[in-house]
Amino acid sequence: MSKLLLTVNDTPYDLDVPESRTLAQVLRYDLGLTGTKIGCEEAECGACTVLVDGTPVDSCLYPAFKAQGARITTIEGLARNGELHPLQKAFIEHGAVQCGFCTPGLIMTAKALLDRNPNPTEHDIKVALKDTLCRCTGYVSVIRAIQSAARELRGEEPLPWPGVPTVPPLKAVGRPVPPQEVVDKVTGRAKFADDYAFPGMLIGRTLRAAYPHARIKRIDTSKARALPGVCAVLTHQDVPGQNRHGLIYADWPVLCDDKVRYMGDAVAIVAAEDADIAARALELIEVDYEPLPVVTDPEYAHSPDAPLVHEEWETGNLLKHIKVRHGDVEQGFAESDVIIEREYRTPTVEHAFMEPECSIAVPAGYDDEHPKLTIYVGSQIPYEDRRQTAAALGVPEDQIRVRGTLIGGGFGGKEDIAGQIHAAMLAQATGRPVKILYTRQESLLFHPKRHATIIRIKTGAKRDGTLMAVQATLYGDAGAYASLSDKVMTRATTHATGPYVVPHAKIDCYAMYTNNPPSGAFRGFGVTQSAFAVEQNMDLVAEALGMDPVEFRRKNAQRVGATTATGQLLRESVGLLETIDRVERDMRGSDPTFRWGWREGTKAYGWGVACAYKNTGLGGGAPDRATAEVEVFPNSTAEVRISSADMGQGLSVVLAQVTAEELGLPVERVHVLLSDTDLTPDGGPTTASRQTFMSGNAARHAAITMRQALAAAAAERLGVSPEVIRFEDGRLHHNGSAVEIGEVVTWMHEQGQEAKVRYVYDAPKTQPLGTGGDMHFAFSYATQAALVEVDLETGAVKVLKIIAANDVGRAINPRMLEGQVEGGIVMAMGNCLTEEYIVENGVPWSVLFSRYKIPSIKHTPEVVSHFVEEQVSSGPFGAKGVGEITSINTMPAIANAIYHATGVRVYRVPVDQDALLRALKAGATEVHTTWHDVK
């Protein structure tokens, strides 16, 4: 311990701390200034940016004693006397805040820029924020927010949010209402799991496998247990209940017993007084392994001589064979004039949510606030966490409380169990609170990713452009455990015809166990992969037919009255044609000189188009339910309670808006409480683009029922008929007079009635795949056009512009929706151009953030967004899914654009400039390799 003098946000501190501290650790853990976030500890992501004597630095890798005597400014120091800084206001106004985890870093980096340069250009902003990453927004809104704040700081009018045209808004629905948490997120007050601390809290760590596939012969924890400061060391023998968890199949060991099946497998867990002791304890655990042959290729996994990942699984490494059969493909191809057959490959992709996983468990009875075993976690499915933890602990579910914290991005990557069960076991074993925070590197190693796929697809069409048949074989790398592979690969399969009318289809998909990291849910849920293949084949067929690619799509587009390849009759809300029209109008307008591709000097330019559709909700016959509670209080405010996750997409504000609309309350008087299994009913998983629809419907119907109860109570008291009562502006209006909604609540209380309603919403029934009928209750549709520039000297690809039109039924909150669109596009650009999670014979290479590049602000293209609002009658105010549709067709649109620019088609992503250039030089027209193959 040594003296450290710092002035932080104008407050002098005289600290006595270990010299081994980083500046971020001192700020967060010694001073409790948790607004500064730790995202990678590699100086890659910028979430930890603070100002040291006015200069932005990455505090995660900055020795605290390097700052001896310095003046530090953190996000907490920006607002003065309760007045938000112009940057903070502008980030709210422009929708530049989603999950909020990167927000402090973005704002502090922007502050340093504006301190130096009061009038930055877009280029200046991109230079300044190049290494401050955001996974949610796509940066479009961030750039605008900084420009707006710069204006205000110069004494000019800040820029208003430009808006996107929508159908006329209602009182609350359809308006760009800011989310309730947004002020906390821009001021650093927002609390994510690692921002919580409890007295006596221990640090938990996990020992991971030493091999991708090995039998465990012996585990000896005695030396680790003997280390002073170690409070518990647990192995599979200490799992009190069922030592297998999983969202669909319970195949994933809580702690490995017989075997390890991938490098992220957990073998032992430790709780210790501090992180250093916990890390040393892990090194002292002895594990004897018998290494086994590994299987890493999903096609090889299917062969009879492949080693088995799960010996007990009846179909060997085949987790699931998924089939779509529709019409007679032989006949379809026989009637086709053009047939195109190609193979496409997509890689394993990492979510790279900015907040690494963190769970804290507090043992039952630890203090007054924790009568039950309580788990604090930023989870997409709190009730599933509770169910799986209870099963592992061998206790009834109601003995566990899961309290959802804010979530620093999820995108599907926070659906599976991470440290929840381990933290609970260690808390029970030690009788003290235990925090398990994954480092970025552990997060990269451990959690399920987007499935790598191999897709062979054959598309046939008649000379007039009528699609006749699609036949496809897909291999999906499920990795070591099932996670959601069954469902993800089902979606890849059922969407493999694209959003088109295809009379004959035969699609087979094999989800295969391997010794790679598990694959699971990731925004797009399998459809991202199949769309890459489908939409490139569409362009190839159009070219072979001599047809315009837009016209070809339009001719075959799904519309009301069409039947999907799974036998579903589309009765309403099919906005695909409208999305095609809007995008085409923007792309080529009435320009007679429009060209798909052209060259200027050493650059080639090309446009590419792709369409997509994506189901809303679980579908496939799975019961889909969300339960919401609405309570109104005597002070004329209301609360909506539901366990559904807001990971930045804006669910809380959507729920507030639909509730406010139905209760006639100003939206700011509706508070939303999410994800507390003791206080909020189950909204179901936040997956499958289902929450606006499902939780939105649950909240809406709860609010309607509440309104009816209020009307009944008021009618009785006032002696009027309930029908004459109108709810508006927080009042019940009747015959020219009005009463506050809170007063009616008081009347209900006086009658011994609660002003509280719980509503169980069940989605329209769906049918399992293969049985025909409605597999899903709604689909969202989209078209995108991409404009790319290819440097013919280097092969480098740059996306200049994306035009996107998304049919989402109803834009409940246009500002949050715009953020979903922009963020989805830029995330998909990463999939197409920068990202691949590389595994070498079962051993992940991409275990550092510096080896896994997600798009930075410099990649941000111009984005033009259109909302198409083909309402679905069962949706809340007509809304359907939003979260995934925005990111599905970007990848094939870019690939098609690269083809138009260069004449070279890319069959693999991420696009490799090295291979693309070599193809250009060789006069080749196809690229089948990626940078992964550069060895």
């Binding site: 590699e42 990455d58 020795p63 190049k130 080896r851 991420p910 940078w931 992964h932």
Partner: protein, 304 residues
Amino acid sequence: MSLWNHYYTPATVEEALALLRTYQGRARVIAGGTDLLLDIKQGHLPRPDALVDITRIPGMGDLRQEDDTVYLGAGVTHAQIVDSPVLAARATCLVESCGVVGGPQVRNVGTIGGNVAHALPAGDGTTSLIALDATADVVLNGVRQWLPLSELFVGPGESRLDQTRDLLIGFRFRLCGSHEGSAFKRIMRPQGVALPILGCAIWVRLDESGQRYEDARICIGPVAKVPARAEAVEQALRGQAVDAEAVELAVSVARQTLHPRTSKYRATAEYRQEMIEVLLRRVLPLATQRARTGEAIPEGVGME
């Protein structure tokens, strides 16, 4: 786990050397730490017991012009270099190379000394310092001396300086005078580790008329295992008329004499060979134009 236990900020070179001696190999020199701490974190280097931060030693942060030369303390940050008007005008390649390292947060902390000490075959700042023919002020084996920068490197990531014993104090090089100019560009890929596929720094001197190359220094990396000059290309340029043919001559000599290798997840040898040519065609005319006009505005700072 903590990456180090003790942290020292000595006020003199002697004090720093004494600390290193005391720890007998268990202490390492740190400047910005942006490379060092990552290397320790990744296990490329053993965890040191102590870090000796040299950035508070007077002179380490100095960037000063001394007549026609410039002195850079080893603790000068990339940001200081990028912000220096004299370097922008008269050591343009250095500004261009330091301007593409990391993002602003890293450039604000990472130092030119650290870039050199890291000894990568294509360290951006190092590439330009080699083209500028810099010499380094070092304490090597207890002896303070000036060495040509190029003599510091032994292999990829390996320098003659032992960072548990020796110190890098600063650099000196001649600024561009009349008829002299320099430029730097690099080729990156958007995937994987942010190391250049290829970087190229060129310094040229033209004759009085501005029509002929009198001299050239070219550093292209990674080609060899250490940062190295493309001497055959330099030789070919000397005496050549300044025209498109000279560029093509440079390209053809480079094609014959420079043989880059394939490196895993970065680039194929074929691609690198192409990029050598692309970079020569981009950088040589730019450096030449700066030498002719005497005007230089750094390009690509912050974005490449």
